[in-house]
């Protein structure tokens, strides 16, 4: 058995043996490190342009949707459903990104804040 065949066998065996593991994102240390930067802070990069905040700030549209809904405007409900579909698309494409992890952290913080408010003073 040549070196090629031996290597293939070992690696395939390792793959089969390790199929029960949970995936993680391997990041070579030779690439620009993931995570915060010395000057760029938590984001690890200078954001040149982002409209994510605009998309993430739906209060005017949402308020309009809610108001419209309260006033019996069927279009408002459709708009809110469209925003929900946008959110689901974003969730599908944003997995494993820092933004998604920040979203998860934010949800945890909200749950923690609710719990804290319920605690006796």
């Amino acid at each position: 058995m040549g070196a090629r065949e031996a290597l293939m066998s070992v690696l395939l065996a390792a793959a089969l043996a390790a199929c029960s593991g949970t995936p993680f994102e391997y990041h070579s240390q030779r690439e620009i490190p993931a995570g915060p930067g010395l000057l760029t802070g938590e984001s690890g990069a200078w954001v040149v342009f982002s409209d994510k905040k605009v998309k993430a700030d739906p209060p005017p549209a949402t308020a309009q949707s809610a108001a419209g809904e309260a006033a019996g405007d069927p279009g408002a409900e459709l708009r809110e459903f469209q925003e929900f579909r946008d959110f689901r698309r974003w969730k599908d494409t944003a997995k494993d990104t820092p933004e998604f992890r920040e979203f998860q952290d934010w949800r945890e913080w909200k749950a923690y804040r609710s719990w804290k408010e319920r605690q006796p003073q």
Binding site: A3, R4, L7, M8, V10, L11, A14, A15, A18, C19, S20, G21, T22, P23, F24, E25, Y26, S28, Q29, R30, E31, I32, P33, A34, G35, P36, G37, L38, L39, T40, S43, G44, A45, W46, V47, V48, F49, S50, D51, K52, K55, D86, R89, W90, D92, T93
Partner: protein, 369 residues
């Protein structure tokens, strides 16, 4: 309706549908700049000459990167990656011969990636200058010391030659043979199949030497990374590449095929082991091999390792180059690495020809800005 009228109608309908998808409102556009600086002091000694160099550490060169991406609807994301390295005194270019006193290779501004990509449930398609499907496949490493020591032994002192001979440099006698590096290509990465990703690429080589430029390349491989819980973390890659040596000069010699891979295991205790192997079969020349083993230990912000590498027949049949090194990295946070490493290399040739060992000591720091 006749068949001749139906076909253009169907084509028009298909184009209109595609345009309707592409014209869907854009979502979540973001563009960012990031980068790093990596500087080191390197002392090299080939038995006859020695020198202290101030270098840019080619293990992870000084670079900046501009990335942008946008959700374009229908579950698709489009983006660009533009990454450039800018090195003053590249650590794999400095030599101990030439003008006395100091070897200064000057400042080099080099392309790394200039690519566009489209990603979705189907996986990712990338077009442009960038990593071939198996670039880094011989270099998978969980030790935490890659910034100062890894399978790419020639990245520090790569241009220093045994006996001062430029035909016997470290990069030539003990090269990790990591497939085809970066080139102009079309690449496809499958969606994650559990811990596995399948990657393929096809393109054309970039090289400063005419004989190696514009060669047709194909690469195939598998990438694996998994958290095994109490058993630790495992990552490996295995693949194959072929380069058509006849592309530019017909009749020059058939194909060059590279097979190889690497595997790295990190136990929860911090102990880790890495192994890499590659084999090149060259129709126009000779075959050659590379083997590499590293054992390391990570604890808190510290990582230690020792590695051993061997290159066989890489310049001439009968050549046996050996490397032994030790490495230490202190990472006070995710943005900063402080490191030190020492390595010694030897070369034995057919007929009992030997040379003085080459010894290199390096101390430096990499900071992500």
């Amino acid at each position: 309706m006749t068949k001749s009228a139906l076909k253009p109608l169907l084509l028009s309908a298909a184009v209109a549908s595609a345009l309707a998808v592409l014209a869907a409102p854009a979502y979540a556009l973001e563009a960012k700049i990031s980068g790093q600086v990596n500087r080191a002091i390197m002392h090299a000694d080939d038995g006859s000459n020695s020198e202290i160099f101030h270098v840019d550490n080619d293990h992870s060169s000084t670079r900046f990167r501009f990335v942008g991406s946008e959700d374009i609807g229908s579950g698709l994301k489009a983006g660009i990656v533009w990454e450039v390295e800018y090195q003053s005194n590249d650590s794999d270019q400095v030599t101990l011969v030439g003008a006395p006193g100091k070897s200064d290779t000057g400042t080099t501004f080099g392309e790394r990636k200039m690519e566009v990509f489209f990603a979705g449930a189907f996986g990712q398609v990338t077009l442009g200058q960038g990593d071939g499907a198996m670039n880094g496949g011989i270099e998978v490493d969980l030790s935490g010391t890659q910034v100062i020591g890894y399978a790419g032994i020639g990245d520090l002192g790569g241009a220093i030659g045994f006996g001062g001979n430029s035909a016997l440099t470290l990069r030539k006698v003990i090269n990790q043979q990591d497939f085809e590096s970066r080139y102009d290509r079309l690449r496809y990465d499958s969606p994650k199949l559990g811990p596995l990703t399948i990657s393929i690429s096809t393109g054309s080589s970039n090289s400063s030497t005419a004989a190696q430029n514009g060669l047709d390349i194909q690469e195939y491989g598998i990438w694996y990374s998994s958290n095994l819980g109490a058993a630790g973390t495992l990552a490996f890659a295995v693949g194959f590449s072929t380069k058509d040596l006849d592309t530019v000069t017909p009749g020059s010699g058939g194909d060059q095929e590279t097979t190889g891979g690497s595997i790295s295991w990190l136990h929860p205790s911090g102990w880790n082991v890495t192994f890499a192997i590659s084999n090149v079969q060259n129709d126009a020349g000779k075959d050659s091999d590379f083997n590499y083993l590293k054992v390391g230990y990570k604890t808190g912000k510290h990582a230690f390792s020792a590695d051993f590498g061997m290159g066989d027949d890489q310049v001439a049949v009968g050549d046996e180059a050996k490397h032994f090194g030790v490495q230490y990295v202190f990472a006070p946070n995710q943005a900063v690495d402080l490191y030190a490493g020492y390595k010694t290399l030897s070369l034995d040739r057919a007929g009992g020809v030997t040379f003085d060992d080459i010894n290199i000591l390096t101390v430096g720091s990499r900071i992500k800005f």
